[in-house]
């Protein structure tokens, strides 16, 4: 009460004086209803149980799970931890070679996706393209996203380029990953573009820029770090996908895995799984590190001067003669800034 009195101007004090002293409890908010939340939880639970019975899952099999995990785990561990003689060393190198083929397939696929996704992302961004283009491109992208990369591989790419490790199968896998990458990458990039700060766009427009100049100097510098991060993330996803495509005959570690699975050769399966896990984690870590660098910069070692305001007098040091011009494109620039240079 005393607060209100002092805040109001001297002339208006009488107006804010309450007619009745309010009860302290009157100020407390009413507890909001939890009905919606409870109903929601109930629905989730019902769907869960319905899904189990609807599909005829035999939940009792879960009881045997720990025993089977130990059994197969032992079989595979025997393969991994045996002292490698000539043949076992061959298994290891064969697995690593196949895994690197998978990574290579994923990289080529990601590059294909990245190449097409940038222009398509602009076409699918509402703030960058006219309505007809936007609608058509969005529709095409959603069709692409609706088809899993496995279907692309089985139905289109493998028949076109041929099966098997090396050559045809690898190309088929890369193309399948590339096309399905275009779908998601373009969508994510278009969303990044739509979230761009409109201020620089307005100032660029006010300077008489045309549409392409505006994209180049107001939009790209803003979205490029995010776009690179999206590309890298898709590369991580594609590594897993390329391992799966291999099982279908697209080459790489998947082909090897399906061969050894066919033979129920548990110690070789163990080796292949270890290689998959180790290499995937390694690439993920590297990729995540680069993504973090690109988005957040190098942290405290930023090279820029302290933000401070001098009173207009040009300080000593860099003048027009300093260094070369800075006409590089935004990708290396943001990477360079991220590296603290």
């Amino acid at each position: 009460m005393s607060n209100r009195g002092t805040n109001a101007g001297p002339g208006s004090a009488s107006r804010t004086e309450p007619r009745f002293a309010p009860d302290a409890l009157d100020r407390r908010p009413v507890k909001p209803s939890k009905l919606g939340y409870n109903v929601g939880m109930l629905v989730v639970g019902i769907i869960f149980i319905a899904a189990i019975y609807g599909t005829g899952m035999d939940v009792r099999a879960l009881v045997d799970l720990p025993a089977s995990i130990i059994q197969y785990g032992q079989l595979m561990a025997q393969g991994v931890f045996q002292v490698p003689d000539e043949t076992v060393a061959g298994y290891w190198t064969q697995s690593f070679a196949a895994m690197f083929e998978s990574v290579a397939i994923a990289w080529v696929g990601t590059m294909v996706g990245a190449l097409f996704s940038l222009p398509l992302g602009f076409m699918a961004a509402r703030n960058m393209s006219p309505l007809p283009v936007y609608v058509v491109v969005r529709f095409i992208l959603s069709v692409i996203r609706a088809v899993p990369e496995i279907i692309f591989a089985i139905a289109i790419m493998l028949p076109l380029f041929g099966f098997g490790s090396g050559g045809g199968g690898a190309l088929a896998g890369a193309m399948a990953l590339g096309i399905s990458s275009i779908g998601t990458l373009s969508k994510l990039i278009s969303e990044a573009i739509e979230a761009v700060d409109g201020g620089p766009l307005e100032s660029s427009r006010a300077s008489g820029s045309n549409h392409l100049q505006l994209i180049r100097w107001a939009v790209l510098p803003q979205v490029m770090p995010e776009v690179i991060a999206i590309w890298l993330y898709r590369f991580e996803v594609n590594i897993r996908a390329s391992a799966i495509l291999g099982v279908l005959g697209a080459g790489g570690i998947g082909s090897l895995l399906s061969t050894v699975f066919g033979a129920r050769d548990w110690d070789r399966i163990g080796i292949v799984l270890v290689v998959i896990i180790v290499v995937t984690m390694l690439v993920d870590q590297i990729s995540a590190f680069i993504r973090h660098r690109v988005i957040h910069g190098a942290g405290v070692r930023s090279g820029g001067g302290e933000p401070h305001d001098d009173d207009g007098a040009p300080g000593p040091g860099a003048g027009p003669e300093a260094g070369t011009t800075v006409e590089d494109d935004p990708a290396p620039k943001s990477a360079r800034a991220a590296a603290g240079l």
Binding site: A206, S207, Q213, M224, P225, G304, D311, P314
Partner: protein
């Protein structure tokens, strides 16, 4: 010279931004537009370069009649009319120099712009613009590493790089602290006097308007309700424009001795 003849602006949602505005702004004048928020200050300024298309009337800038429907004509007009914004609107991830070079967009072929291969004379002009606002030493730094006042001066340099006939400034100092606000206003005033560029500034700080402008235009509900030299814009007149008495909010607390009558008005309130 800029001439408004019976200009109306109706926004797509039916809101009337400007109604029947008639103005004549002479070459080389420094005009401050005052009014409460929502009075149509920003709309008035943005009709001049076509960022907001007017819906009826005739608007001429120099010899050209503004046509909001022709994109090519608007681009040509915008190349001669520079604009400064409250939030600076720099592209913070690129260098100061590249931000200033955006001001050369209209004069640069698109392929050069896309590759960033600006002509040597354009770069020279950009450097001269930075020198004029006193921050050429920051040319190769990222715009994001500059303080607010410095960023606004980069924005002024970007406008100067356009070699404009008119500078529009939409609340250029509203997000700056008082001493910096005065610095930026002094820069604008100096540039207007040195280069003879017509300067139109929106502001809500009356003392800044009085100390830097030649002429004050008062707006309320999309209409021009006062138009006259600074000396005529007394506290009583401005209170009439605002439809309320002046308060401490209407002045920038400042290091300079320019507050005069407004302070006393604020004290009375």
């Amino acid at each position: 010279m800029i001439t408004f003849e019976n200009i109306d602006v109706v926004y797509p949602n039916g809101f009337k931004g400007l109604s029947n505005v008639n103005l004549q702004i002479n070459k080389g004048e420094f005009v401050a537009i005052v009014g409460l928020s929502g009075a149509g200050k920003s709309t008035l300024i943005r009709t001049i370069n076509g960022l907001v298309p007017f819906t009826s009337g005739t608007l001429t800038v120099g010899d050209d009649v503004v046509d909001p429907r022709s994109k090519a004509k608007l681009r040509r007009l915008r190349s001669r009319v520079g604009m400064i914004f409250q939030s600076f609107n720099l592209v913070t991830r690129i260098s100061v120099l590249n931000n200033v070079l955006v001001g050369r967009s209209a004069e640069t072929p698109t392929w050069r712009s896309l590759l960033g291969w600006y002509r040597a004379e354009d770069k020279e002009l950009a450097f001269q613009s930075l020198e004029r606002v006193g921050i050429v030493d920051k040319a190769y730094m990222r715009a994001s590493s500059l303080s607010g006042g410095q960023q606004q001066r980069v924005a002024i340099a970007r406008v100067l790089a356009q070699d404009p006939e008119v500078i529009l400034a939409d609340e250029p100092v509203a997000s700056l602290d008082p001493p910096t606000a005065h610095k930026v206003m002094r820069d604008l005033r100096r540039i207007q006097q040195e280069l003879g560029i017509t300067t139109i500034v929106n502001m809500h700080h009356l003392d800044l308007a009085r100390s830097y402008a030649d002429r004050i235009i008062g707006m309320r509900a999309g209409e021009v309700v006062f138009d006259g030299p600074v000396e005529e814009a007394t506290d009583a007149i401005i209170e009439e424009v605002y439809q309320r008495s002046l308060t401490a909010e209407d002045i920038v607390a400042s290091d300079s001795a320019t507050q005069g009558t407004v302070t006393s008005a604020a004290a009375q309130d």
